[in-house]
Symmetry: C2
C-alpha cells in the first residue's frame, strides 16, 4: 500500500521502528457501529516515543487516535470521518513498573490489560478492585481514559478513584510527569482527573499509579429474591448499615435476564424455579474474626422480617460463589444472543430508580410489544436498561422507533437527575446527546479547555466534543 | 469610608442588598502571615446573585476573592497585593438544601460549616466523614475549594472523593449546574474535580452534593506504642489486612508532641509514663456482629508477636475513646503554645516515610539545636513535620535559617516522590514552591486552563499561580 504525501512527511518524523502493520482490529469496535479508516499505526515503547509521535502528528497536522484494548462501547477508539488519523496503540507499553505491596500501590504502563494488573496485585496478596467483563482485553490506559466502572464501584470507586497519578503526553507533545503515589497532594489543578475520562481528547495516558486494596479476610456471596427494585434499594440501605461499608457489590437482576439465560445457556443451573421477577446478587468482604455466611444469614433474617426478601441462596463455597457470579456475568452474553433493539447505560439518584423503572416500562408498553431486561450495578445507581424484540419478532422490526425510544428514555433519565452515560462515556456515539443535555456553562468550559490544551485539535477529534 | 470611583462603578452593577460591612475578619487568616486590603464585601444569597457579582466585577475589572470560613493556612483567602479586590463571602448561603438518607447523599450550600454538615448527616443516622480541627468555622465551599483532608481520608477519601456534584459560578459569570447525585456519570470532562482544589481561581463553588457514609455498627479506638515509624507502617499494613478496609484513622504521634502536651496542658491525663518516643492512634469501624475491642485486642496480640507494638491501651468506653482523640487533637494547640520555627504539611509514599524522617532529623541535627514534632495522618502518608526551638531558645533565634531549612526539607520530600503541600493547598504561601517543584508540562497546562477559563484573571489572582 503506497503512502500518501502527507503520510510520507509524517513517517519521516516518527521515531525509528515505531510503526506497525495496519490490521482490521485497529479500526473496529465491539458493536460494529463505527468503522475507522486505515491510516498509520504507531506503537511507542515509552512516553518519550509517544511524545515524539504526537509532536510529529502536530507538525504534519494529522489527527491522533489513542487505542488501548479497543473494548469501548461508544466509538471513542474509532475515527470514521475526516482524513485518516494516526492510530497510537499502547500495545507495547506493557510493563508493570513497580508494585509496592506495603503501600498498596502499583505503577503500570498503559498497555497492561486490566486482567494482568489484577493478577499482578493478587501476586502480592492485594487486589486491584476494578473488574469488568472485558478485562482480558481492556487496557489500563483505556480504562482510565474512559473512567471505567464495573461491579465494585460501590465499595472501591471507579477508575478515577483508584488512580493516584499519571504519566501522560499532552497535545503539546510534552510529557506530564505526575506519577505520584500519594493519597494526599494539594499542589495545583487536578489535571489527573481531567485527563481521566477525557477519552484521549486532551492527551494520552502512558502510565499510572494505581491504588490496591486489601484482600478481605472473609468474603461472601448471596442471591436474594426481592419483590421489586424499591425493595432492592431498601435492602441495600439495610446491608450498608449492617456491614459498615463492607458491601462490595450489589447487582440487580431482572427475571427477564435469567429467562434469556435459560434459553441461550440452558446448561447453567438456575437457583430459583420458577424464575422470580427481581433478584439481587450481593457480595460482602469482612474483617478477620467474622464469618461471611453468618453475616449474610443475619442480613437475610432481618430483611425477611422487614418484608424485603422472600427467598435466597447463600454460597457455601468459593465454587458456589463463582457459580452465582457466572449467572450475572452471562446476562450480557445472553442479551447479545437475543439481540437488543437498544441498550442504555444510565445512572440515576438511588431514590429515583424505582419510579424510573416503573414509568419507563409504562412508556414502552404504549409504544409496542417488546421485552425489557433491566440489570446492573444498583448500588451505584447504574442500570443497563435494554430493550429486546417480543418473542417471534426481530430487531429490524423496530428500526423505525429505535432512536425515538432511546431519546425518550434518556430524556426521562435526565429529567430525574440521572446520566445518559453512566460508565461507557461519550465517545462518538453520544456527542449529540451531550450537546443536547449537557449544562451549557459546563459545555462552554469544556470547549475552552479543549481549545486551550489542543489548539490544533489533533487529539482524538470528534470524540466527546464535535470536531 | 468613601468609595473610590472604580468601586462606585462596581457597586452600581451589584445586586441590591448584597454588600456587607467590611470587618477585619474578612481580611485575616489564622497564621497572620497575610493581611488583605479593605475592599468591598459582597455576600450573595444564591448562585444567581453570586453570578451577578462576578459579572459586575468582570465588567469593572475588579478581582474577586472568594471567602468561606477563612480557616485556610496558606493565604488563599487573603489578597494583600494589587488593587483592592471584592471579597465574595459565602456566609449567607447556609441552606442544607436536601438530605437523602437512603441515597446517602446530602446537598448543601457553600456557606454551611463542616460541623453543621456533619450534624445534619448525624441527624439522619449517617456520617459525613470529613473531619478537621477547624470544622466549627470551615465552610463546605472552602473545604472543597482546597480539597481538604483530615483524619478520615484513609478510609473515606478527601473532600474531592466525597463530592458527587457542584453548582459553581465560572469566571465567565455563568452558573455551572452540575449538582448531580450520581456515583457514576461519564459525560465529558471532569470539571467538578478541576474546580475542587483550584482554590477559587477557576470559579466559586456555591453548592455541592456530598457523599454520606453509614455509621459503623461498632467502633473502637486504641493507642499503641511502636518502636519507630517503620514499625507503625508495618502495623498499618497488618491492621488493613485484618480489618478489610475497616481502619478509619491511623495517626502517628511523636513523644515530642505528648511532651509539649504535658507542658502546656498538664491537666490532660497521659496514658503512658514515661512518654514513649512513638505512638499510633488507631480507630476502626466494623460491621454488626463483631466487637471492636475484641478486634483491637486480636490485632494487638498479633502485632506484639510480630514485635511491632510494646504497649497499648484500648478504649473501653466512648469517653475513653474521646479522651484518646483529645490527646491527638490537642497536639496542634500545644504546638501553637510552644511556637514553631517552621511547619511542613507534607506527604510521602508510605514506603519512603521512615527513611525520610530519619534523614530529615539527621540533616536538622547538623543545622543547630532544635526540636522536631512529627505527627499526622500516617495512613495517608501525610505528616506534619514541624520544627521548634530548643528549650530556652526563642522562635526568633532561628529567623536566619528558617526559609533555608524549609526549602531543604521540601527538597527532600520532593526527591522522595512526595508533596510539599499534602492537604493545605498552595494559596499564596507556596506559589513559589509550586513554580520551583511542579512538573513543567503540568504547570504549562494549568496556566493554559486558567487563561482559557478566566482570561481577564479576575478570580482570586495570585493564588496557586502567579497573578
Amino acid at each position: 500500500m503506497g503512502l500518501e504525501p502527507a503520510d510520507r512527511r509524517l513517517t519521516a518524523r516518527l521515531p525509528h521502528g515505531v510503526l506497525r502493520e495496519m490490521a482490521p482490529a485497529y479500526v473496529e469496535e465491539p458493536r460494529g457501529r463505527f468503522h475507522g479508516q486505515a491510516g498509520l499505526v504507531a506503537a511507542p515503547r515509552d512516553a518519550e516515543e509517544a511524545a515524539a509521535v504526537i509532536r510529529a502528528c502536530a507538525a504534519a497536522r494529522v489527527a491522533v487516535v489513542p487505542r488501548g484494548g479497543g473494548t469501548g462501547l461508544v466509538g471513542g477508539q474509532v475515527m470514521s470521518q475526516g482524513p485518516a488519523p494516526l492510530i497510537l496503540s499502547l500495545e507495547r507499553m506493557t510493563a508493570i513498573r513497580d508494585i509496592f505491596a506495603d503501600e498498596a500501590v502499583m505503577v503500570v504502563e498503559a498497555g497492561v490489560t486490566l486482567q494482568a494488573a489484577r493478577e499482578a496485585a493478587a501476586g502480592v496478596d492485594r487486589q486491584f478492585p476494578l473488574s469488568l467483563a472485558s478485562q482480558g482485553s481492556a487496557q489500563i490506559g483505556g480504562v482510565l481514559a474512559t473512567n471505567a466502572g464495573g461491579v465494585n464501584v460501590l465499595r472501591h470507586g471507579n477508575a478515577r478513584t483508584l488512580c493516584l497519578g499519571i504519566e501522560a503526553v499532552l497535545p503539546s507533545g510534552r510529557i506530564m510527569h505526575d506519577l505520584k503515589r500519594l493519597r494526599k497532594d494539594n499542589t495545583g489543578y487536578d489535571l489527573r482527573d481531567l485527563l481521566i475520562g477525557a477519552e484521549g481528547t486532551l492527551g494520552v495516558i502512558t502510565a499510572a499509579s494505581l491504588v490496591l486494596a486489601p484482600v478481605p479476610a472473609e468474603t461472601g456471596v448471596a442471591m436474594l429474591v426481592v419483590e421489586d427494585p424499591a425493595a432492592a434499594l431498601r435492602l441495600l440501605a439495610l446491608a450498608q448499615g449492617r456491614m459498615a461499608g463492607g458491601v462490595s457489590a450489589f447487582e440487580l437482576i431482572a427475571g427477564q435476564g435469567l429467562d434469556f439465560l435459560a434459553q441461550h445457556f440452558p446448561q447453567m443451573r438456575q437457583p430459583f424455579a420458577p424464575i422470580p421477577p427481581w433478584l439481587v446478587l450481593i457480595e460482602i468482604g469482612l474483617p478477620a474474626g467474622m464469618r461471611a455466611d453468618d453475616a449474610l444469614e443475619a442480613l437475610f433474617v432481618q430483611a425477611a422480617e422487614a418484608g424485603l426478601v422472600s427467598d435466597g441462596v447463600i454460597a457455601r463455597s468459593g465454587q458456589q460463589a463463582a457459580d452465582l457470579w457466572a449467572l450475572r456475568e452471562h446476562i450480557p452474553l445472553a442479551n447479545r444472543a437475543v439481540g437488543a433493539i437498544a441498550s442504555h447505560d444510565i445512572s440515576l439518584p438511588l431514590s429515583e430508580i424505582a419510579r424510573f423503572i416503573t414509568e419507563a416500562e409504562a412508556m414502552l408498553a404504549g409504544e409496542g410489544d417488546m421485552r425489557v431486561n433491566c440489570f446492573g450495578h444498583l448500588g451505584d445507581g447504574n442500570l443497563h436498561f435494554n430493550l429486546f424484540p417480543a418473542r417471534g419478532r426481530r430487531r429490524e422490526d423496530y428500526d423505525d422507533i429505535r432512536s425515538d425510544l432511546s431519546r425518550r428514555i434518556h430524556q426521562m433519565v435526565v429529567s430525574a437527575g440521572g446520566s445518559f452515560s453512566a460508565e461507557h462515556g461519550i465517545g462518538r456515539l453520544k456527542v449529540g446527546d451531550l450537546a443536547r443535555w449537557g449544562d451549557p456553562a459546563r459545555l462552554a468550559a469544556m470547549r475552552a479547555i479543549k481549545d486551550a490544551l489542543d489548539p490544533a485539535g489533533i487529539m482524538n477529534p470528534g470524540a466527546v466534543l464535535p470536531a
